[in-house]
């Protein structure tokens, strides 16, 4: 029996027990956000880099509620539409937090928030050359995933469906192909809407799942965070256990011999 404690995963030399990474956007307030992170069991949270409000410098900050010494902050480049903007954002993030493990996303258009893979690849190369360890949001394309890995991505993070859509994993075939081909961790980033979909990602063999809206926009975000934690663990166990083969017709579970 594989227990959860020994089933850790490693990205760029850092080992984590939780396979769930959660975002910190869209919550009602910092208290709810912190409680959801706690309930999710996540050891990594994504954060954005934005201008300080210089007219209200004493406003509460995320770091007052989620301690970066206990939870790994993964700075993202959400909202960046060019490689240059993303690189600039992460240079600032590294200075603000001192971390080199970052989440790169370079978006192609506002309507779908689909990644611009040409810019994403360019940014991955530059960041890797500057000593960053980029975990990269990407399309669910096994060739693009390999190219990112070759460019220096320390993890590839294909979308399951558009960011914030909650549509679930639309293409299980391509996600599985990425998992089979990758030498770095693969995490589904974006698209999960409910617990069963997180389990699907893990059953496909992904190393983890990254989500934000599915928890933050649930009626009870803290309970959904717990559901996601359990779903990720359940999906992981199911993957390791190896599912039964599918049959086209029934196969009785009780013996036929000895029927009265």
């Amino acid at each position: 029996m594989t227990d959860t404690v020994s089933d850790s995963w490693t990205v760029a030399g850092r080992t984590f027990r939780s396979r769930l990474i959660v975002g910190t956007g869209k919550y009602k307030d910092f208290e709810q956000n912190a409680a959801a992170v706690e309930a999710s069991g996540a050891e990594i949270v994504t954060v954005a880099v934005r201008r300080v409000n210089v007219s209200d410098p004493k406003a509460p900050m995320l770091t007052d509620y989620i301690d970066p010494k206990k939870i790994t902050y993964l700075p993202n480049t959400a909202g960046c539409f060019t490689a240059d903007d993303a690189i600039r954002t992460l240079r600032l993030a590294r200075e603000a937090g001192g971390w080199d493990l970052v989440k790169l996303e370079v978006l192609g258009e506002a309507r779908t928030l689909y990644p611009d893979m040409r810019e994403t690849l360019k940014a991955t190369e530059t960041l890797a050359n500057e000593g960053f360890l980029p975990m990269v949001y990407c399309v669910d394309d096994p060739i693009a995933a390999k190219q990112l890995e070759e460019a220096g991505a320390v993890a590839v993070m294909p979308l399951g469906a558009p960011i914030g859509s909650g549509l679930g994993i639309q293409n299980k075939v391509t996600v599985r192909l990425i998992v089979e081909g990758a030498k770095v961790p693969v995490l589904v980033d974006a698209g999960v809407g409910t617990a069963s979909e997180a389990a699907v990602a893990m059953e496909l063999g992904c190393d983890g799942v990254l989500m934000n809206t599915a928890i933050a926009e649930a009626r009870d975000p803290i309970r959904m965070a717990r559901a996601m934690k359990l779903a990720v663990e359940a999906g992981r166990h199911a993957y390791l256990a190896g599912r039964m083969a599918q049959r086209r017709y029934a196969d009785p579970s009780s013996p036929l011999a000895g029927l009265i």
Binding site: N33, V49, R50, L62, N76, A78, E95, M211
Partner: protein, 70 residues
């Protein structure tokens, strides 16, 4: 009369005393320098050097921190 210089901080005009450093600016706004990062005319200003860099007329600064995001 103390001379002042004009800066652009996070897109807004701001005036500081002539000879101010970046650390003076950050403290003057009321921010904890350990929680922010500063870009000075497009270049990262390392936290360890904030007190050593004097500001000049027309300098453009971005002061950022971590906020919630996905």
């Amino acid at each position: 009369m103390a001379a002042e210089i004009s800066l652009i901080v996070n897109g807004e005009p701001r005036r500081v005393a002539f000879g101010s450093s970046i650390a003076d600016l950050v403290a003057g706004i009321g921010l904890d320098p350990k929680k922010v990062a500063v870009e000075h005319n497009g270049e990262i200003a390392p936290r360890s050097t904030l007190a050593d860099v004097s500001l000049s007329e027309g300098d453009v600064l971005e002061i950022v921190h971590f906020v919630g995001g996905g």
